[in-house]
Every structure is written in structure tokens, then in C-alpha cells.
Amino acid sequence: VSLRRATGQAAFAGDHALAGTLQLALRRSPHAHARVRGASGAAARALPGVVEVLTHAEAPRLFGDVARFVGDRLAVVAAEELDVARHASELVEIDLEPLEPTLDAERAAREPSYVAARVAAAEGDVDAALAAAERVVTGEWSLPFRPAFSLEGPVALTWLDEDQRLVVRSSSHSPFQVRGALAERLGVPAARIRVERPLVAGGGLGHGLLQLEDVCALVTLRTGRPAQLALRGEEGVAAAAAHPAQRVRLRLGLAEGRLAALDVSLLVDLGADAAAAESALVSAGRQALGLYRIPHLRFEAVAVRTNRPPASPLRGADGLAFALECALDEAARGAGLDPAVLRRAQLRRPGDPGAAVLAALGEPAGADDASALAELLRAAPARGKASARPLGVVGPPRRHGTGLAVARAAPAADGRAGSATLRLLDDGSFTLSAEPSIAGSIDERTYAEAAAKLLGVPAQRVVCVAADTDSAPYPASDGARAGGAPGRAVEEVAALARERIRAAGAAALGVPLLQASLGEGRVAEPGGRALSFGEIGAAALRAGQPLVVTATLTAAGTRHSLAAAFAELEVDLETGAVEVSRLECVVAGGPFDDPLPATRQVEGGLAAALEQALASELCFDDDGRPLLAALRRLAFVAALDVPPLGVGFVPLGEPLARFAPAANGEAAARAALAALANAIARASGSCPRALPLSPARILEAIAPDGARP
């Protein structure tokens, strides 16, 4: 955190106010599935202080004729005060005809109209290989819907600027996507819209349109006034994107201590929106199946749309990787093999069988993660063992267990990139325009420092500003969660600028480029003459050729993030309680100038894994209503819950490595999730296959009801 943030000076999406702002409240569906037969805002409009009421009748593109989940938006009220808007939203008359909801993902998978995407790929003879295998692990794993939660809930503020252009400030991470969607939905040319990029709180909310911006924008366009909509507390959790539910069926065959065959089917419940369904399945398959050499492989995946809240996986669904790591561990336990040794023996190298399936899933040709993974598999258990107590019984009723797993996570969705622009001013200072990394440990200060270091000037000489849709050079700069890409663009742009300045200095000094050296804010020649950056910048401006450099980096060619995790814990056999005593992770990456930000990112992944493994779940009643008791009861990991953590890096020797990709944290989270499950399985003898691994589930897995352990 920069000093600006530690002192509360940094402004987040909601930290902005304009005089005369209308406060908005949404009317939401009480049914998981219903047809809107009619809507009238008359009663709401009659309330003093209400300025605008929009329903399906006035804004059919924003409020559809079908409510698709409990909490789907049906109408908006804009009023001078929030209380009035909230009260009036309850007075909007909406005639709903409840329809049969589709809540069962298995059933949805059989109905073509509910299937959002299907992906299948196969190689070899899976059934024969499984029949011939010495050991087969069969099972079904399930992962629940989970709430996504940022400390700052979804928020949007829109207004018209002096030129009557629409300005949007929201907590979405993707300003260009927001601009595109607004242009389409509102029929406003994209050039008439500016989307700001304020700081956004971490936590994985808010990709793409948040279902707030369009409503605010329409109110602003119709009334000419600023409009704000903020979801707080339970409303923010209920209406915001969740993590999707997943089910994995799997048969895994081991022959001669090797992974011989894998037959796997993945079902992802994306809820009401089911956006980007195919890419979610493809990357889920690639990330999990690309780890190992699997001669006989069948992968079938289906994503369905149901009447649950919209859920979207950030970088592919994580269920497949989880199930595979659990099943492999179970096979190792059954065969009496060391789980690290078993994994190391199967790491996939280019040219291994299974290549056709992976190519179909978008694995880059020649990708080779095997040596890095082998290194991680040596490092992670070694870190763990250094601190481990002897295995086995701790003394009734507690048993000790350790677990291991590896994972890889994709970089941001295909084609996403980072860009940066740097210009030299006539006083020798620089302005740098770059996208702040959202999830990352990176902000304007780190960007400025990185650029200053490469340019050889003090950090105060570089002023970094966050780019918005007007000033960012490329729409590709959406999705800065990739973290690495914008950071690397900063490094790239600084390196390019350095060369441009050296060349300009050499030309002005009248010496060949090779004789010009750059340092301490000036360009010098061997004879001792020198020009300061300020002089070079001023000359460039006078010549009508200002020194402005833009760099953009595409994500293509960015490698997967790789991690291995090691968990150590105790299970109470009488109560199912789990006490994690240590969580270790080794990530491929670095070397870093300052490893602390990258370390914090990975630690965050480990804490998220702990929450997901042991507690996180969004439950529903039989009618598809999310069970959101008071917010204070939802399972979010707190400082008290975090066990001692260890983070290490296995350097990849990459040249521009100051900025770690955010996917590092995600690889760590996935590896740790499976490592925790594997440790519970080793401690208790059997691990439930449904997340979260709550005390109740573990107790039932150890000894079914009635039996005593």
C-alpha cells in the first residue's frame, strides 16, 4: 500500500460526490424465474422527491420481460434522497407471473436451451486403458456457488460534462467494456462516453458491466443530472457476480505407477448470465490437463445457464484442477506412492501424448512447464518438511495430516494486454500514464518508481496518472487484473523512452549514438559535454516533436502461473474441526527487485484458498433464494483465521520481472485448495468431495451418522 492509500487520500470508485446527484434504488425480483406481465411506476412517481421511475415499459433494453434470478433488477427509482428512492422502489407496481425455475444444473445440461457451451476433446482409448489399469479412482467432486465480495460494493456514478458527454465512474475493472456495452444499450456513440478508471477495491468483483452503469447512465441522459447507485451489504453480495458452482465426474487410471488414463466430465453452473461460457470451459480444461502426461484422455465439459445469480469464473473454472489434484493424491495414497514423486513422474513435456487435446484447448505450441513444476515439487514439500511434525496420530481425537498439490493458472483472458505512455517535459520531468493494477500490489507509486529507475532519475521526477477511456492508448488495457501486463508495459515504455532520449541527446550533441551515455538525468558524450533531460525535452518540444513514447504488451506469449502448495493440519475426529498449522506455497516467478509485493499477492491467494476450502458457500433455499443471513455471518477469512504462511519463489530468470502477474495469486490459491483437501484426507482417512470442507461434512465423511469414530 502506498502512503497515499495508507493515509486515506486515495479515492476509490465511490469516493466522489457531485452536487445535485440523484440517488437510485433498484426494485428486484423476489422470484427465481418470472414473466413481467406489466409494470407501472405511477405510485412511485407520486411520492415527493421522486424524479424518475424506469421499468420494462420505459426501458425494455435494461429491464427485460423475464426475471431470471432472485434479485434480478426490474425497475429503478431516482430520487433526491436515497431513503425516498428505496421507499419508492417498493411502490413500483410490477405484475409478475412466476415461472418454473431451472435450479438443477444436471437437468439444465440435458436441455439444449439451457446449455451455454459445450466442449469435448479426446485422445487414445480411454475405456480400454481404464479397464487395463491397476488402480482406478472414481468419484464426483462438487464446488458450490460462492459469494464474491469486495469491501467496496458495486458502485456507479454518471454525469454529463461541459460538452454533454456522458462520464461514468464505477467499480468495474474494465472501462472499455463498460463503454462498449453502454454505447450499445443506450444507443450513444462510444466517442460520446468517457469511463474513468478510479481505484477499485480488491476481492474479485466487477469485471465488465456491473449492471449499475447502464441504469445510472440512462437516468443521467433522461434527467441531465448526476446519478449514483451503490450496492452495500447484503444487496451487494446478492446481486453481484458469484463464483460458479461446478461438478466434476472423473475416472483416473494408474498403471505401473504412472497416470495411464483420465476420463473427466465438467459441469459448470454459470447462473443467469452465462457470459463467456466457452472460454471458461476451455481454459479450465487447459489449465488442469496441461499439467500431466495423460496418454488416454477424454474431456467433456458443459456450461449451463440456470435461474441462479450470475456467476463468472475469472480465469476458467477451478473445479477440474481441484478434482484432478485430489484424485491423483488418492491414487498415490492407495498405491503407497509419494505424492510429489508420482506427480513429478508425469509432468507433461512438449511432444507427449495428449497434445491434440491440449492444442484444441488452446495450449500454446511448445509450452513447457515441466522443469519449473519439477522444481516446485521439490521445493514445496521440502519447505513443509522443514517444519513438519511426525506424521500420524497426535493423540485421540486429533490426527495430523499433510497435503500437497500443484496448479497452473492462465494469464488474463486472451489478447488482454497492458499499455503505458510516457512523455518528457521541458523541465526534465516525466508524466506516465498507465492502468493501475487492480488486484495487484501495484499502484502509481510503484509504476513511477519502476520507470524512474530505468530512466535514471529520482522517483519524484515521474508523475504517474491513471488512464481512462479517453487517455489510455488502447482498449486492450481492460482487465488489468493481469497485473503483470500493465507493469511490464511501464518497464517497456521506460526502456524505449530511455533510448529515444539518448538518441535525441546524441543528435543534439552531434556525436554517434554509441558515444552517448545516459545517466543522472542527462545525456553525455566522452568529451564531457552533456545535455540535461530538461534541455532535451525543451528542444524536442521546440522542434515540434515532443518525446512521447507508448508501449503496449499483449498477453500472448505470457506463460501460465505455476504454483505448488503444502498444507499441514490436524483434524478432530470427534467434531470434524480442522486446525491448519501451516500453509506453504512456492511459485514460479522472479527474481524480483522487491519480493514483498509479490509475496503479499501469493499470501492473499493462500488465505482465499483457506476460506474456499473450509467455509465459503452461497446457500439457497428450494426456490433459489440466496440465504443471506446478516452479513456478519458470511464466511470471509479474517486475520484471526490465517495460519502461519510460507511463500517462496523459484526464479524463471525473466528479464522484466519487477511486476508479478496477478495469476500467481490464483495459481497459489488453486494449489493450496487441493493441498488442504489432500491433507484432510490424509489426516482423517477420507475427505468429503463437496466443498466447503466444513466440520459437519468432515464428520459425516469420517463416520456416517450414528457410527462412532
Partner: protein, 463 residues
């Protein structure tokens, strides 16, 4: 005003009586009583007329004839920090408070009376008050009474209808031993089941045993028939098992998304044996649960009376300067401060969970989202902006930046203020105390940076 509010509960008026009779009258007319605000203001209830009890002088702790008397408006943090509260409950009361409210911020706000009146089904504190056989002193216009725990804690706001106001809670003289066992998915989450037990010996035999359990369809309850199985025994293993079996099979355990009733029953059985064994062992060894270190407590100034406030201009000292701002009865302190441009007071969850809106009110941290602005009238508020600026940061803020805490930074102001309040109150806090004080959530990290920053600052503070 109203921006970012979650307190749109139809609050129209705010009353701050100074005499308990006024409070009774207002309550009898349907006014909603407000203690610390952590439950009432975080609920969905419609609260047209609020009656703030803070002006009644009902906070404070004293020992009377060997009993502990706790004013209903005493914060549970003050209860837990009071040495006699530890001694007179065999350590049970402070422990239960920490487990029931695993956030130092909320403990500083929540009142003992409020926690008892709400009778939350999962509250370890309610279970502890049952196991300690507390007595609840209710002022009432018609029938004032001393309501025993078994009765008062059997449901929310028992014995208060018709204008009752809980005045104080009496915890009778100490049991010889006590224990509290719980199971939760994570330490900071509500328990699936918790069991509180107290024991009193007569020679080698158990003279009195009380067992209270949570995770029921009802508020926490005692299982008296299980208790009587133990009395006059020496607490042998089989007797404990017998009592635990009885409890497990007779208490009405809850079936919900967290656990089925039958799983709760199994967990309760195991926890009952453990809690009883521990309480008996402690009674025999006369070694109560670990004592907390006593702390310097800031005395709360008693605010001036404020009858029927609906709206007006409030004058508050904010970061050493006078701030005058318009506030309705429903306006929260967070709204008021943000309205004055102090965006370091973050608009977070609005339920006291995330801690991002923390400010110091007369030196004590409060969640500004659950504090009505009118409560700050005439008092002094410090926000994160008041600690330091990027140009002249407070040492703690510099330590946070140095430790690379909180990448996105949204939680940083809350953590910095929570840390500041902890270090003001406690010399050389231990690891658990620091983690417990940083109860505000962070969604980016595992808190390691924040913890490192507080540790660094704590050792820098050491003389």
C-alpha cells in the same frame, strides 16, 4: 445527505433521555432501544423512533457482596478487560465475549445488555451468562423485576415489553471452574455448536454444575437434567458421557445450511464431555482460564440529554477542527464525515463487518457506519486523515506502506485506526491480540503486511 446509506430504516426521530423513567415511557410508546447499535442498526428492522440509552449512565462495573454488577450499557470490551469479571466468572465471561464477538472494534461498541437482549442463538456470551446464572435487573413502569438468566435469555427482549429497560446484569459469585468449547469452520466465524460449563465443588464432589449449549432452534439453553446427573458425583468419565448423551439427545438442535441437527448433536456430545472435564479439572486445580491483562480504560463522557432530535446542524470536533454539518436523525457518522469530504472513512459493508469505516470517537474505535452522527455531537472524532498525510504520515501509516500491506488499500484506513487504538490501549500486544484487533477484512492479502506493520510499530513504541 443519504449518500451510500444503508441505514434507510425509516428512522425519523432520536431521543436521548437521561432518566430511566423517560426511557421507559418512550419504550412503552414503541420507541426502539439503542445500546451500542451493532445489532439494532445492522438489522433490517424499521426503526421510526430510536431511544438511545447512552445518556442513562448505565455503564460501569463494580463488585457488590462478592457479585459482579455490570451496567447494561457497558461495552463488552470493558467487561472483558475488567479484572473482577475474570475472577468472578472463573475466566468464562472474558473468553465468551472474545469468542462471541471476534472483532475488537465491535466489542468496543456492543453492550452487554444489548447482547443479552438479542439472545442470538449462536452467542457464546449468552451461553456463558446462562452457565453463570446471571440475573437481569429490569426497570419497568408497571412491574420491575429481577429476571433470572433462564427466563430473560429464553428469547429476544424477554421481560421488556410494555416499557421495560434492562438496567444491569448481576453475575453471582464465582464458580470454582469453567470452560467453553466450540466448533466453527474458521475461528472468526459463528460456531456450529458451543458448550459452556461451570462447576462448583464441595470437597471432592460436584456441588453444582451448569451446562449451556448453542446451535439450537432456540436461543442458547441450559440442559438442567444433564446437569443434575453430575451433581453429587465426582465427575467420573462415565458420568460425563451419560450427561453428554442426555444433552445430545434432548436439546432441540438446529438443522440448517451449516450442519444438520444430527451432526450438531454429535458435536455437542463431544464438546460437552470436553467442557465438563476441563471445568472440573480447573475447579480441582483452582486454576481458572488464562487471565487477560488489565488495560487502561478510557472513561466515556456522559453525553448531554437530547430529546426528540429529528434534524439539525451538529457541531463535532473532527481531527482537531470544528465541523458543523446538517444531519438527520438517521444520518450515520460515516455519511456525515464523507459528506464533509473525509473519504478516508470508507463506505464499506455497512454492517460493521469490514471495519473500513472505523474512526476514533473520543479515542475509541467505532464503526462509523453503525454510529449515528448525532451520537458524535459535541465529541471528538479522529479519522485516518487526522493521523497524517502522505507528505507527513503517522509512523503507523509509514509502517503500513513499508510492509506492503493491503495492496488495493481500501482496508488500510480501518486497519491503521484499529492498530492505533490497540497500541494506545495495550503495551506490547501479543500476536493474538494484534490479529484480533485487526478484525477489519482485507480481500487482497492474508493480513501479513498489516500484522507486520503493527508489530514493527509496537516494538518501535517500546521505551
Amino acid at each position: 445527505m443519504g449518500r451510500g446509506s444503508v441505514l434507510a430504516r425509516g428512522i425519523r426521530s432520536y431521543h436521548r433521555p437521561t432518566r430511566i423513567e423517560e426511557a421507559q415511557d418512550l419504550a412503552a410508546q414503541g420507541g426502539v432501544l439503542l445500546g451500542g447499535g451493532t445489532r439494532v442498526l445492522a438489522s433490517d428492522a424499521v426503526l421510526p423512533n430510536l431511544v438511545d440509552l447512552v445518556g442513562l449512565g448505565l455503564s460501569g462495573l463494580r463488585v457488590e457482596d462478592g457479585d459482579l454488577v455490570i451496567g447494561a450499557c457497558t461495552s463488552v470490551l470493558d467487561v472483558a478487560d475488567f479484572p473482577a469479571a475474570h475472577a468472578l466468572s472463573a475466566g468464562l465471561l472474558p473468553l465468551a465475549i472474545r469468542l462471541a464477538l471476534p472483532s475488537r472494534l465491535l466489542r468496543g461498541m456492543a453492550t452487554l445488555g444489548g447482547e443479552a437482549v438479542c439472545a442470538d442463538p449462536d452467542s457464546e456470551l449468552v451461553a456463558a451468562l446462562l452457565a453463570l446464572n446471571a440475573v437481569f435487573m429490569v426497570a419497568h413502569p408497571v412491574e420491575p423485576r429481577e429476571s433470572p438468566a433462564l427466563r430473560f435469555l429464553s428469547g429476544p427482549a424477554r421481560d421488556l415489553s410494555g416499557g421495560g429497560v434492562l438496567r444491569s446484569v448481576l453475575v453471582p459469585g464465582a464458580p470454582d471452574g469453567a470452560a467453553l468449547e466450540r466448533v466453527a469452520a474458521l475461528p472468526s466465524l459463528p460456531s456450529v455448536v458451543a458448550v459452556a460449563a461451570t462447576t462448583t465443588l464441595s470437597g471432592e464432589k460436584l456441588a453444582r454444575v451448569r451446562i449451556a449449549v448453542t446451535g439450537l432452534e432456540t436461543p442458547p439453553a441450559r440442559v438442567i437434567d444433564a446437569e443434575s446427573k453430575l451433581e453429587r458425583t465426582s465427575g467420573e468419565r462415565e458420568v460425563l458421557a451419560d450427561a453428554a448423551d442426555f444433552l445430545a439427545s434432548h436439546a432441540p438442535f438446529r438443522d440448517d445450511a451449516l450442519a444438520s441437527a444430527s451432526v450438531r448433536r454429535r458435536i455437542a456430545r463431544a464438546l460437552t464431555v470436553r467442557a465438563l472435564a476441563a471445568a472440573i479439572a480447573r475447579a480441582r486445580q483452582r486454576s481458572p482460564l488464562t487471565a487477560p491483562r488489565s488495560r487502561a480504560r478510557t472513561t466515556l463522557r456522559l453525553p448531554a440529554p437530547l430529546p426528540n432530535y429529528t434534524s439539525g446542524r451538529l457541531e463535532i470536533n473532527v481531527n482537531g477542527r470544528r465541523l458543523r454539518a446538517q444531519a438527520e436523525a438517521r444520518t450515520t457518522l460515516a455519511e456525515l464525515l464523507r459528506g464533509a469530504g473525509l473519504y478516508g472513512v470508507k463506505a464499506g459493508c455497512g454492517a460493521g463487518r469490514c471495519g473500513a469505516c472505523a474512526v476514533l470517537l473520543d479515542g475509541r474505535p467505532v464503526a462509523a457506519c453503525l454510529t449515528l452522527a448525532v451520537r458524535a455531537l459535541g465529541r471528538s472524532v479522529v479519522t485516518v486523515e487526522g493521523l497524517g498525510s502522505a507528505e507527513r504520515p503517522h509512523a503507523l501509516q509509514a509502517a503500513f506502506a513499508e510492509a506492503s500491506a493491503s495492496p488495493c488499500g481500501f482496508c488500510a484506513p480501518g486497519h491503521v485506526l484499529a492498530a492505533r487504538a490497540l497500541l494506545d490501549a495495550v503495551d506490547e500486544p501479543g500476536e493474538l491480540e494484534v490479529r484480533d484487533a485487526l478484525a477489519g477484512l482485507c480481500r487482497c492479502t492474508a493480513y501479513a503486511g498489516s500484522l507486520a506493520a503493527v508489530r514493527a510499530q509496537a516494538s518501535a513504541d517500546r521505551p
